[in-house]
């Protein structure tokens, strides 16, 4: 059969054109591209291009929480660096845009507004005042944000994602640990020094709940963040001849240090149980270092930097390589784990072919058993509850990086399960 060269060329051109249109099934209004395997088409939103996913982190790198903020960002970076080296997430490299709000609410609001259109979500938002100020914006822009807080105040907020266990649950588990270890007993009175606000007042709910259930009496004393000489508070704890069996601190590291020093030098050798934010390894070089080593127990839902788990050790090794001059704190692992939660949600969103903000939010809530290696298993499906009720109990070891070692692997007190939130 004879086919004219003209016809042959026409047929070839038609076939090519058809093939080309088959590739481009571009829907109007949505950017699409082929992902890693080349087979799945992924819907994308703000901060996501064909080869990059951009995430934001709003932290305090230069003010009161500077030392913690820096290490938290390093933890975030470490995770994404590893993922990027493995080929990225959803075939895309993850880019982290970090801004230092220096614990200033106004700065954080401006930075959020500037950064928000360029990122898919935020892997870190540090500071309760900042979370409070930005929570409505997070809800309206649907930018999924991992809040660096463990207060139950921030539950049920659209777009805000909390990780680990709450402050009150950490306190409950901590008291259970002290009780099980014979360090306190039924009928004892326990002092609780706390910051007013979403951290300390929230943690106080935990000690009061545990006291009711375990037959203890709690004597609460409030302190403000600027007060670092706690002589008056210490005297108030002991007023009326109260015999304290333990002191709980839901405040900052310097309040912990002041109390530990006062207790120890007045011969009150009792355990001091604190929430994660109540400890800073820099305190171990001060005169109260010995008192902290002897009496301090830290209850948190993230493993300390010098934890024994394989994940913690791997992080410590990578951290030393990536940040040879870094001063690791407890939150390196939390930063890594938070980034891992975000990474796993991105993976899930990618599988569903939806890397938009809505896609990420629904993928986040589809995660019912998140493993990070350095936090207890988390169930993120319900935004009215914390994803875990387990806590690590850590003790001081001044010789290890970060100053803490695990005394008890994550466990849940039966009392914690009856605590709402």
């Amino acid at each position: 059969m004879f086919i004219s060269p003209v016809l042959r060329r026409l047929v070839a051109a038609t076939v090519l054109a058809l093939a080309a249109t088959a590739c481009s099934t571009r829907a109007p209004g949505a950017e699409t591209s082929t992902a890693g395997s080349g087979a799945v088409t992924v819907k994308t939103g703000p901060g996501v291009t064909a080869d990059t996913i951009t995430l934001g982190a709003l932290s305090d790198l230069s003010n009161v929480f500077g030392p913690q903020g820096k290490t938290l960002v390093q933890g975030n970076e470490l995770y994404f660096k590893q993922q990027n080296a493995k080929g990225g997430i959803c075939g895309r490299q993850v880019k982290l845009e970090v801004r230092d709000h220096a614990y200033n609410v106004q700065t954080s609001v401006s930075q959020f507004s500037a950064l928000e259109p360029k990122v898919l979500g935020f892997v870190q938002l540090l500071g309760s005042p900042m979370v409070a100020a930005l929570s409505p914006k997070i809800a309206s822009t649907k930018a999924v944000t991992l809040a660096t807080t463990w207060s139950t105040v921030w539950l049920k907020k659209d777009g805000l994602v909390v990780t680990g266990s709450s402050y009150p649950v950490d306190i409950i588990n901590g008291l259970q640990y002290l009780l099980d270890g014979g360090l306190i007993k039924k009928g004892d009175t326990i002092g609780h020094v706390y910051f007013e606000g979403d951290y300390g007042s929230n943690a106080l709910l935990g000690s009061q709940h545990a006291a009711d259930a375990l037959g203890l009496t709690v004597k609460p004393v409030q302190v403000t963040p600027t007060v670092t000489d706690l002589t008056a508070q210490f005297n108030e704890l002991r007023s009326g001849g109260t015999d304290l069996a333990a002191i709980l601190v839901s405040a900052g590291p310097r309040q912990t240090a002041s109390l530990a020093g006062l207790a120890s030098s007045s011969g009150l050798d009792v355990p001091i149980l604190v929430n994660g934010p109540g400890f800073d390894p820099a305190l171990l070089d001060t005169p109260v270092g010995d008192a902290l080593t002897k009496h301090l127990y830290v209850s948190s839902s993230y493993e300390p930097f010098s934890g024994k788990s394989s994940a913690a050790q791997a992080i410590a090794k990578d951290y030393a390589t990536a940040y040879p001059d870094g001063k690791p704190t407890m939150v390196v692992n939390y930063g890594y784990a938070a980034a891992s939660v975000m990474g796993q949600a991105l993976d899930a969103a990618c599988k569903k072919g939806d890397l938009t903000r809505e896609g990420l939010a629904s993928a986040m809530r589809s995660l019912t058993s998140v493993q990070t290696g350095v936090m207890p298993t988390m169930n993120l499906s319900d935004n009215s509850k914390y994803p875990s009720t387990s806590s690590y109990i850590s003790r001081v070891d001044a010789k290890v990086p970060g100053g803490l070692v695990v005394a008890k692997e994550p466990f849940t007190s039966p009392v914690a399960e009856t605590f709402a939130g």
């Binding site: 007013e196 007060v227 005297n235 006062l262």
Partner: protein, 294 residues
């Protein structure tokens, strides 16, 4: 009983504030400038003490810190006087700029560490009337009383003191009488800096764990003290410092029963007192009244 305990604690804290306030007033009397960089100078001195103390011992380090803070204050004075204006408000504002620069550098140097002074009192404490008082605080009170006494002695009984007071009262006449205004300015700033460093050492001592990068802000607690006492009165500075210390401790010690006033009222309370004093006596308790001839 509890009130008495808190009063003791408040007086010991107040004596430290008095030192800071006295430094502010010395500088104000000498040059009519309110030194807003006082907090950073305090921290500079404390930083030097913390760095040297493990190597040369506490006393030598403290002396070096006092000298460093005095020199720091003189440098700030030179900077301020280099400005081509004599408007004291402009010069005061200029010290805010110096404070920001100095504080940024110190923040960078101190980083995440906590400055400890290596003082001889360590974490020992004494029971007085049923209340636990840290020995460092008792030491601070004793040393503050001595320093303040020495300050008043020099100020009222020596030639140097006469020159200082004359210049504070009427700089122009004092200059005409042959008193070198520049030397008076330098001396007043050096005294202010030195006092700030001593206060810094005591603020870092037990039961505080030490000073961190934000400690310069503590000097701001002395602002209500100098306003309460009267900006140009050295006696007023001491009185104001004690009032602020006692107010803060009383409010903090009763935080649970004063809960209805809101979070952190202890920090605000001195300012409330300041406002009340200003309504009653606009020049402060011991400040000189402004006289207007009609």
């Amino acid at each position: 009983m509890k009130a008495l305990q808190l009063l003791l604690l408040g007086l010991s804290l107040g004596s430290i504030y008095s030192l800071i306030a006295l430094g502010f007033v010395a500088i104000y009397k000498g040059t009519k400038v309110i030194n807003m960089a006082h907090g950073s100078i305090l921290l500079t001195g404390a930083y030097v003490v913390a760095m040297l103390s493990p190597h040369v011992g506490f006393l030598a380090a403290a002396a070096a810190g006092v000298v460093a803070a005095a020199v720091g204050a003189i440098v700030v004075e030179r900077l301020v006087s280099a400005a081509r204006t004599t408007d004291h408000l402009v010069l005061t504002t200029l010290t805010i700029g110096v404070d920001v620069l100095l504080a940024t550098e110190l923040t960078h140097r101190i980083g995440s560490s906590v400055l400890t002074m290596g003082d001889p009192w360590k974490d020992r404490q004494t029971e007085i009337m049923g209340t636990v008082l840290p020995q460092a605080r008792i030491g601070a009170t004793a040393v503050s009383v001595l320093i303040i006494a020495a300050f008043f002695l020099v100020f009222h009984k020596t030639n140097f003191g006469v020159r200082m007071r004359a210049s504070a009262d009427d700089p122009r006449t004092a200059a005409l009488m042959g008193i070198d205004q520049r030397r008076v300015a330098l001396a007043s700033w050096a005294i202010g800096g030195g006092l700030a460093c001593v206060a810094g050492i005591f603020l870092a001592a037990f039961p505080n764990p030490g000073l961190d990068q934000t400690a310069g802000l503590i000097a701001l607690n002395a602002i209500p003290a100098i306003i309460i006492g009267g900006l140009d009165s050295t006696e007023g500075a001491v009185l104001g410092g004690l009032i602020v210390g006692v107010t803060q401790t009383l409010v903090d010690g009763n935080a649970s029963s004063l809960h209805f006033l809101g979070e952190g009222f202890g920090t605000v309370a001195p300012y409330v007192v300041m406002l009340l004093v200003l309504l009653w006596r606009p020049s402060g308790l011991l400040g000189s009244k402004e006289l207007n001839r009609v």
